[in-house]
Symmetry: C2
Subunit: 308 residues, 2 copies
């Protein structure tokens, strides 16, 4: 019968392309890994590793099998995690990723509360843009993601957390600085300072303004960059509410925040995890803890569904 251990050797070799390094990664000696892979090839009756080549290259079949093997190894780890979690729920190490336009502000607001409610849980926080977050989530590098929904992805399960209102942030010199509100229609074609492409907030803002990507000359690397730019001059940008709250409470004086209406704009923040993940109870616990701290949604808030 096939052995998961042998399969994991193949996965390691596929990923590292080097017998010695793969062996090291698996905590075995190089001869062991070589021998077991040879055994695996006999069991399957297939050449997995390209023969006679200078480099370590898997055959076409080998690569396909390594891919399947990787999925199985991941499932094995999830099974073990599930078993652990069933003993002591809400303990252990949790690899959590949050999109950059949300991470610092969300953690500032909810971090203490979460730690208080889930003392047994060590949260390892990663800041990843949506695309990379999804990849790492599916590959098992992270366990839970917090990002903008909806994300129609097979094999993933989601839980909505909050409709985060979006504001227009403008410098005091900006022509709109005296406005008490801006309608969505007025935003069409407006010149905004946005984040780099890849950030879902930038995509969403572009949609709201019906802009093509080329029309944007300036791209910030983080919301904090945008903050300084708007604060310094007469630019304008889209600001999620949590960032706004943080900036206000940190004494930012030079930005005026204007509500966007007709309809009120928001983005849907939520959790994402693998469907079979052992960490789903953690998701629910985090949801419970965070929901208490976040402001209540007003009724007329409307999500802008993001087209991926």
């Amino acid at each position: 019968m096939l052995s998961l251990k042998d399969l994991s050797y193949l996965v390691a070799l596929d990923e590292l392309g080097h017998f010695g390094k793969a062996a090291q990664a698996c905590y075995v000696s190089q001869p062991t890994l070589s021998g077991q892979l040879k055994k695996l090839q006999n069991q399957l009756g297939v050449e997995l590793i390209e023969k006679g080549s200078k480099k370590v290259i898997l055959t076409h079949v080998g690569r396909e099998i390594a891919q399947r093997a990787k999925a199985m190894v991941l499932q094995a780890h999830e099974l073990e995690a599930f078993a652990r979690a069933s003993n002591k729920p809400l303990t252990g190490r949790l690899k959590l990723a949050i999109i950059p336009s949300l991470a610092p502000y969300l953690m500032a607001k909810t971090g203490a509360c979460v730690n208080a409610l889930l003392p047994g849980l060590t949260i390892e926080l990663h800041e990843l843009e949506t695309h990379e977050l999804l990849r790492q989530l599916k590959s098992g590098e992270i366990d839970i993601g917090i990002l903008v929904l909806p994300q129609p992805q097979a094999g993933l399960r989601h839980l909505s957390l909050w409709q985060e209102p979006l504001w227009l942030g403008v410098g005091h010199e900006h022509p709109w600085a005296k406005k008490t509100q801006v309608t969505r229609g007025q935003l069409a074609g407006a010149e905004l300072i946005l984040l780099k492409e890849g950030h879902c907030l930038a995509d969403q803002a572009q949609q709201m303004c019906q802009l093509k990507s080329q029309s944007q000359a300036f791209r910030g690397a983080s919301l904090e960059t945008l903050r300084y730019m708007v604060s310094a001059g007469n630019g304008a940008t889209i600001v999620p509410q949590l960032s706004m709250d943080a900036w206000i409470s940190h004494g930012e004086q030079n930005i005026t925040y204007i509500p966007i209406t007709s309809p009120k704009q928001a983005r849907e923040i939520g959790f994402l995890a693998r469907s079979g993940s052992a960490y789903w109870p953690c998701v629910e616990a985090l949801h419970g803890a965070m929901a208490k701290v976040l402001p209540k949604n007003s009724a007329d808030t409307q999500t802008v569904p993001l087209v991926i």
Copy 2:
């Protein structure tokens, strides 16, 4: 590290509910199975088997883990099958299931041709109703299904084969026996003899006639039963084209077949297999072989999508 063998022991125990029988199914002795399961419990740090109970009952966690384990074991088998198939494509044993309203007629028409084209392939044929077919397909008990599409099922891959026209079969004494065509509208509320519930053909016919299930007094167990009933008296039923062809070529004299028009009714026949199945090349080969033998679709044929 977790061992697939141990996991398969747990799966066997879950399914058979008996240490001895499970051991037998795994070709090991009962003490071996007991011991390995004990080891597994230690590894996972979880009680898998209900202690102190009279019957062998898995704990709640145990059952969940057995379910995950089953999926992994299935994947292991598929991986092995894939490796085998990569050596000698289109050989070996193929477990094929076909819905009963199609199986005999399809095999009669295409069996010889398939065997001629795929001499290395031993086909093990099962006759299963849609629901059971899907279950067995997902659990790995069968490899390929031929049934009525669409079947929106996660993890399964499909390939459409043929739009099979549907006819109205009536006895010579039936009021409609002299008609040259029947429109779909005329079928509404018509009294038809149908198959038992569970057969997708019956569901589809009911939809066509806009009937509730209660309104059907008579239910046949197979199309052959319906044939005798219609042939003997003045009943009417929906007949798929392949059945009709078979009946005609077997000398059935007492049934008149009336085309259903406005629009012409049909059902979509197609293949279904697990997404990662090693047997997909077989599906394509079968598709190629069968498509040659089946009649060409006329352009105005319309599928009636089945609501599950």
